[in-house]
């Protein structure tokens, strides 16, 4: 009888890369829905564009590298990158923004470094930084939440804006951003930053119609959506709690200290935690396994420093949000963090 030989273990948890990646994508759904509700269906268009672009880019590179195309595509890592990038950029950004971003993230940041598992930087965030630096106008052109829009726009109009820069009725993104009160609307983070720079207090700034009690309208819900998705990821053991917890705690502590130190120019803990991309970063960006720290102790440090950087850049830096920069900077520190945070191996330095 011919027997098949195999090396132990002969059993497997049946967890696969594919299910891992798809779980993360699925966990984006609450946040994604919130985005669609408050910022319109443009994000759906961006998502479709992103998925197409990353698939084509990944497949092409795989062909060129003479690697199994479909099998690699199937692991879902490229799709995840596309989804994360699509959720990061303004929903009405022109189509070439997402295409350039996706191509850059897959071709340059991921594949040129050796493909999945070898990339030093988080592909989505590296692409985001590229786009933000190269096309700052398009990348900061967030519309206010839909109920503040002076001109409400439907799906076809959003499609028009994305592909032609104008709606069918001839409005550009900048015109659309003009709110019902005739003022150009920015994101809550932007607004607070600009207002404080203009000498207003944070609480005065937050009197703007952009805000609810504590956070920007819509943005709070989007962050809540990503928080829910993130908790699901921890529960299903796709990610460890270390990075999100240390990131959120550090950001909370920093903003808390800032608020106590200077209540006039600080918007407070809740504002920081539920504005911009905080929750998205904590659960979906900073936890990218390839580019994050790999030891549990290292993850705590990694998350904490990202949280700190987010606060510092938001408060003192030139950009309204800071997730991408913070993550990219810490990506570079990962080998160092990993090296100095190796766990004590069984039987080494035995306790008495």
């Amino acid at each position: 009888m011919k027997l098949t030989m195999a090396s132990s273990p002969h059993n497997h948890s049946h967890k696969s890369l594919n299910t891992l990646m798809l779980t993360v994508i699925a966990a984006c759904i609450p946040g994604f829905i919130a985005q669609v509700i408050f910022f319109g269906t443009g994000v759906v268009i961006q998502l479709v564009l992103a998925l197409i672009t990353v698939s084509v880019a990944e497949a092409t590179i795989m062909k060129m590298r003479k690697r199994p195309t479909f099998q690699t595509l199937k692991d879902g890592s490229a799709w995840l990158t596309g989804v994360l990038l699509a959720l990061s950029i303004p929903p009405l950004a022109p189509w070439w923004i997402i295409v350039i971003g996706c191509l850059f993230s897959i071709v340059i940041v991921k594949q040129l470094y050796g493909g999945l598992g070898f990339n030093l930087f988080n592909p989505a965030m590296a692409a985001y930084v590229l786009l933000l630096i190269s096309f700052p106008v398009q990348m900061t052109a967030w519309l206010p939440v839909s109920d503040l829009l002076g001109n409400s726009i439907d799906f076809s109009q959003q499609l028009g804006v994305i592909f032609t820069d104008f709606t069918a009725t001839g409005f550009s993104v900048d015109q659309l951003r003009v709110g019902i009160d005739g003022m150009t609307m920015a994101t809550p983070l932007d607004t607070v930053k600009t207002d404080i720079a203009h000498g207003l207090t944070a609480s005065e700034s937050m009197q703007s119609p952009l805000f609810n009690e504590w956070v920007g309208k819509g943005w709070g819900w989007v962050n809540l959506g990503f928080l829910i998705g993130g908790l699901y990821l921890i529960k299903s053991k796709v990610i460890n709690w270390h990075i999100p917890v240390s990131l959120i705690v550090t950001l909370a502590v920093c903003s808390g200290i800032g608020y106590i130190a200077s209540p006039g120019t600080e918007a407070g803990i809740v504002f920081h935690l539920f504005s911009g991309a905080t929750m998205f970063a904590a659960f979906f960006i900073a936890t990218d396994p390839v580019s994050a720290a790999t030891t549990n102790k290292g993850r705590l440090i990694y998350g904490a420093i990202i949280g700190l950087l987010i606060y510092l850049i938001r408060t003192f830096g030139g950009f309204p949000d800071a997730v991408a920069f913070a993550v990219i900077l810490l990506n570079m520190a990962v080998p160092l963090i990993d090296y100095y945070t190796q766990p004590r191996t069984y039987g080494h330095g035995v306790k008495k």
Partner: protein, 821 residues
Amino acid sequence: MEKLIQQIKQGKVWPFPGGIHPPGQKGLSNASPITRLPLPDKLVVPLKQHIGANGQLIVEKGQTVLKGQALTKPVANWSVPVHAPTSGVITDICQMPSAHPSALPELSIIIAPDGQDKWCELTPHIAFADLAHDELIDIIHNSGISGMGGAGFPTYIKADSRKPIEFLIVNAVECEPYITADDVLMREHADKIVTGIKIMQQLLSPTLTIIGIEDNKPEAIEAMQQAAKHDDTIIVQTVPTVYPSGGEKQLIQLLTDKEVPSAGIPADIGVLVHNVGTLYAIEQAVLEGKPLIERVVTVTGNTIHNAGNVWALLGTEIKHLLDCQGFSPVPQQRVVMGGPMMGFTLPTVRIGVIKTTNCILAPDHDELAEPGPEQACIRCSACADACPASLLPQQLQWFAKSKEYDKLKEYNLFDCIECGACAYVCPSEIPLVQYYRVAKVEIKEQQAEKIKAERAKERFELRKERLEREQEARQNRHKRKPAAKSADEKQKVADALARVKSSDEKSDNKSAVAAAIARAKAKKNSGELEPDNSEVAKERAARKEQARAYKAQKEAGSSTNETADDKKSAVAAAIARAKAKKAAKADEESVTEQVPVDDKKPAVAAAIARAKAKKAAKADEEPVTEQPPVDDKKAAVAAAIARAKAKKAAKADEEPVTEQPPADDKKAAVAAAIARAKAKKAAKADEELPTEQPPVDDKKAAVAAAIARAKAKKAAKADKVEELNEVSVVSEPEQPQESALHSDEDKKKAAVAAAIARAKAKKAAKADVTKSADEVTVSSELEQAKESAPLSAEDKKKAAVAKAIARAKAKKNQQEGSDKS
């Protein structure tokens, strides 16, 4: 300490990091009692079934043995005996595939059971408490007991621990999925296991004995608690079901919060772990006197109809187990010895059960899916979360793939227990454990290499030193040599002969003989670098003796000859040389040709040719510019022959020749013999260069010699190619010596004949090497050379030169041809 014992007694456990929860699948096999299998047709009992040396065989083929009879006896180094599992006849003792991942053959005793299952005489010790420590150890040792949990460590070593033991831990965890052998054993024989524990307690006197059982075996826990309830030094501790809590180190941590130091053993921290199966075997050995000849084996998996536990005699083929339990294999069937996490697949079911075989798992592809293709590592570190030793499997994997051995050691690769938890959880299905195993082996090999290299270096340096010493000694001899030179021709001959060893004896025939012997000795010295020279030396001595005898005989026979003295000495020298040459060869034949000679000139010429050939054989030597003068055309002939010889000499071995080239000039033959010997010597890499050049005076001979040099050089190069053709080529030049005995034809003919012989030899080589176009050229050139020789009777010298050139060309062609081919 007291506090720790208090905590343990309160049931506290200290979970180890990591661990996984694979599906247990224990229900498949633990529902029914242990059954006994019918006797198999044959038993294959390997001598070595444990860690350590195997015992010494004390039975032989054809012998009838009784059940329980020892088949081997323990010798040194952790050796443990094996016993006949049933009564029967030993049909064979041979190498059989072993129950090891490699299945490397292991010496095994094959027994054909006689069906009577008759025990040998047993000596039970019911009152074991009366036995002395050493007596108990001996019983355990002689009963062939080794760890039955998996590793197979000799139990008597552990039981005889010199270190104080605080905790005796009984490993009843059985954390591997599927396996229930210990579970059912505890259910059925809890009392005997507790007796085994008591024997161990007597031997080790631990403070506390802790039986660790996973909480998925409630019946076993119940049974053990019942059996141990009267002894408050025995605690049955229920531990959570986590793989690999049954790992020795993990269990110690789990039950006592202690860690075995890296590269240490549990006894270092006062802990000893025994498997329940081992304790049962100890009880059997002591109380019933039965050696270890059977064990409980779980036969399970979805392809087994009657999954369950069986008492299997050691040596029972897996096939018998599977057949008895009903086995319907699926395509690409795997049969695993051990559990799904750490077991290994068997290459064949014709392998016997051994002392460590706790499970035979024959899964289908639904329960244990075949591994998928390995994908990229995404550094998710699920492996690190699962690792019970707190290693970083993910980092280790990168280092293992890039063979960074130092990094692997730095990241504590050798603390990996190969439990497979990392590979189990890896979403990319990377066979991590396999990488670690390979890396461990490679590192061990590398270390072994290192040690070996160091030893070799030492040896090399010693040798270098010795060679330098020898060379210095030789140089000193050379310095003294010029003083021995004289104008006298005889003296010259002696000088030439005595080059290797300076001789201050007179230049009569005796000195020549002595020089020849000295040469032979020198050769012997150089031969001493080779490992098997003692035998060679013996043969050489014998030959020398023979040569002397021959010389004496010759002397008597040719006493009327005027030139007897000269002749004899030359003959003797030639013989000695021929012998020495032969002796230097590793595989030799018994050639006993002798060559009579009568002129000293050829000897001189040959000596020159010799020197040149030697020189020429060295590739990095620069061309010799000076032309040694010689004074006779015979010398040219001799040189030509020397050429042939040199070519031949470059080859590794020789064989008897079938064809006899008609060479008949004595002088030529002598010269050839000398040249041969020297050329052969020259072909040896470790030979040193002759530093002096004997004076000669004929330019024709010089030309010939120069050509000979070229030939020898070529021949040395062609070496490899010609080796292929050895059979046809190598031997021919050997012949002239024998035929040289008939010495009354003229020199011309000899030259022609020699040329023809050479041509033949060359042709033969040619034929074997290639069918290239060069062949035509070569043969035609040879043909021409052959024809022209007799025609130019008065111009022998020119002809010889011409032939030599033709030969050179031919050889060149041949070489080019073979290079191309």
